[in-house]
Amino acid sequence: MPLIRNGAVAEDTYVTVADDAALPDGAVIVSLKRFRAERSDLLARNHALGVVLTSDQSPETLGPDLDRLSVVVLEFPKFRDGRPFSWARLLRTRLKFTGEIRARGDFLYDQIAYLKRVGVDAFELPPAITPELFARALSEMTNVYQPSADGRETISALRG
C-alpha cells in the first residue's frame, strides 16, 4: 500500500506494531492503549514514535505527550465516520501539532481533498486509489469558501 507524504510517494519509515508484538528497532507506531501502558519505555527509546487514534479517540486525550510524538495516525473504521476530520483539525489548529498526521483505513478518493484541508499530510492509500488518482483528487476544486487547517486563502479573502 503506497504511502503519500506531502504530496509524493514516500517510503514508510515506521513500522506499525501490534499490541502484543515485540518492538523492533527503529521508528514505530503503536495504539493509544499500548502507548498508555508503556508510555515511559516508549518515550525513552531513541526513535521516532507514532500513535494510532481510532475515530472515537480525541487527540486532546494525549495532553502534553503530543509534543513527544512524530506521527498521529487517524484511523477510519468506515468512510462514513467523519470524526477524524475534526481530530485532524484540532491537532493542527488548536493543539498546534507540527508532526505528521496520517490517514489510514477506509477513506475514499473523494475525501482526500477534505482530509488535506483539515491538516492530514500523509495518506496510506487504499488499493483503489493510485498515486495518479490521488493527485487528481487535489486538483478538482480550485478555491475554497471556508478557512481550515491548510491556511488556504478563502474565496472571501481572494475577493479582497
Binding site: G82, L108, M141, Q146, P147, S156
Partner: protein, 551 residues
Amino acid sequence: MYRYDEFDARFVRERTEQFRFQVERRLKGELTEDQFKPLRLMNGLYLQLHAYMLRIAVPYGTLSARQFRKLAEIARKYDKGYGHFTTRQNMQFNWPALKDVPDILGELATVEMHCIQTSGNCIRNVTADHFAGAAADEIEDPRPVAELIRQWSSLHPEFSFLPRKFKIAVIAAREDRAALRYHDAAVEIVKNAEGRTGYRVWVGGGMGRTPYLGYVVGDFVEKPDLLGFLEAIMRVYNENGRRDNLFKARIKILAHSLGETEMRERVLREFKEIKAAGYLQVPEAERARIAAYFAPPEFETLTDEPLPTDGDLGRWIANNVAPHKQPGYAIATISLKPIGGVPGDINADQLDGVAQLMDDFGLTEIRASHEQNLVLPHVRQKDLPAVFARLTALGLATPNAGLITDIICCPGLDYCDLANARSIPIAQEIAKRFADLERQEDIGELKIKMSGCINACGHHHAGHIGILGVDKKGVEYYQLLLGGSAAEDASIGEIMGPGFGEHEIVDAVDRVVEAYRKLRQPGERFLDTYRRLGMEPFKNVAYGEQLHAAH
C-alpha cells in the same frame, strides 16, 4: 438577489465536473453503490422507488424568472414535464436518468444553480423566511445571513461526513414562517436591549421518529462571530453525535440527552477557542458585499389603496395576499395546492408562464415556501387584478393559502423509497372534501400536514392537524395528531389514538373540524380551541361508529 461572481461560478462548474467523474466511476463499476451513495447524496441524487430523484438547491427559496425557465426546460428535456417543490424550498425532479445528471447540473450551472448539499449527512441547503425583504415585521432581510452560511458550509472539509443531516434556517421577524424550532440549528436575527442587531441561535429541533423543539444555545451572538459560533456547534456535534444508530444520530438527540446547560457549556467552550484563534470572523465588508445583492428593488412611490373585495379576485386577495412593508405593494402567494392536485407540483408550462408574468410585471424574483407554495414578494397593489387573471389562466389561482386545503404533504409511497403509506391520494381526498371555499374560509387558518412515514418530510408533528401514514401488516393506516405548530408558538402534535383506515381518515378529519366549529369561541383558530380544550372532545367524535368497533 445574489449573483455569482467568478469565484462562485468556477466553484459550481468544478463541482459539476467532480460529480461527472463520480458518475463515470460508478457507471464503470469502480465505485460500489455503497461508496457512491454518500457522494451522490451530497449532490442531491436519491435512488427512489422507481427511479433516481434529483433535488435542486434553491437557497433560501429565492429564484429568478431565468431560473424558472431553466427549470421548465429541464422538466421537459430530462423529466416528465413537471417538477415538485419540497418542504425545504427546493425543487425535485422524479425521473432523471443517472447518465443525464451531470448534464442537468451543467445546465443548472448556466443559471447559477446547483444541487450541492440538498441531501446527505452534511449541512443542507439553508432555508429562510419566504417573505424575506417584504415582510412588514422583519428587522432586516435574513437572506444575506443565509447566503453567508451557504458559502461557509459548501464542501466544508470538516463537516461533510456528519453523523446525520444538518438543517439550518434563518429568520428576522417576530412571526416565524420558517419553522425555526424544528431545525437542527436556527438563526434568529434579533435586536438587543441597546438596539444592536445580532443573532439568537437555536439548536436541537427536529421531526422524524423522535420530535423535539429546539432551544436557545446562544442568546446574542455578535455579527462577526456567527460562523465561529455555528462552527462550534458543528464540532460538538461531529465529535459527540451518535453514530451507532441512524435513528438517534441527529443533533436533537445529543442536544436533549446532554441537556441545555451542558450543551451550552460545550458550545461556548468550543466557541471561545475558535474566537481566540480568530480565523472565522466575518468582516463587515464581506457582510456588506453580500447584503448589497439583496437590496430591495427600486420601489415606486405609491400609496396603499383599498384592495378589491368582490368576486373571485376579492377572495384570492383576502386569502393569498399579505401586507408589504412598502406602501402600494403587496405579497402574493401562488398556491400549488389546487383541489385534487399534487401538493407542490408545477408543470413546465406553468413555470414558463410564471416567468413571463414576472417579466411582464417587473418582478425580479419569486420564492418557494416551505409550505410548498410560491410567493411573489413585491407586487404593485394596482397590478393584483392583472396578476390574478394571468394566474387564473395558468391554473395557479387557487385562493386557499393558509386554509385547510393548503396541505403540506410528502411524496409518500407513490414515489418514495422510505414511505410506508401513500400520502398524496389522501391529501387529495381531504382537499376534495373541504373544497367548498365558504366552508374553508369559515374554518379559517388550519394547517394540515401529512407524512407517509415517521421520517416526517410532510411535517406531521407540526400540523394543527397532522396525519402520519403507517403500515400494519401490509395495510395502510393513518394516525391523527392534533395541536402541532411550526410557527412562533411552536408545539409538537399529540397522537390521538389508533390509526384510521384509508377510507376512514377523511371522515375523521371532517368530524374533528366540525367539532371545532361547534366548540370554538369567537376569534379562535382550530389550534387555539384545541389548546383550550385538549384532545378529549375531538377524540370523542373522531372515531365515529368505529368507537364501538374493535379499536
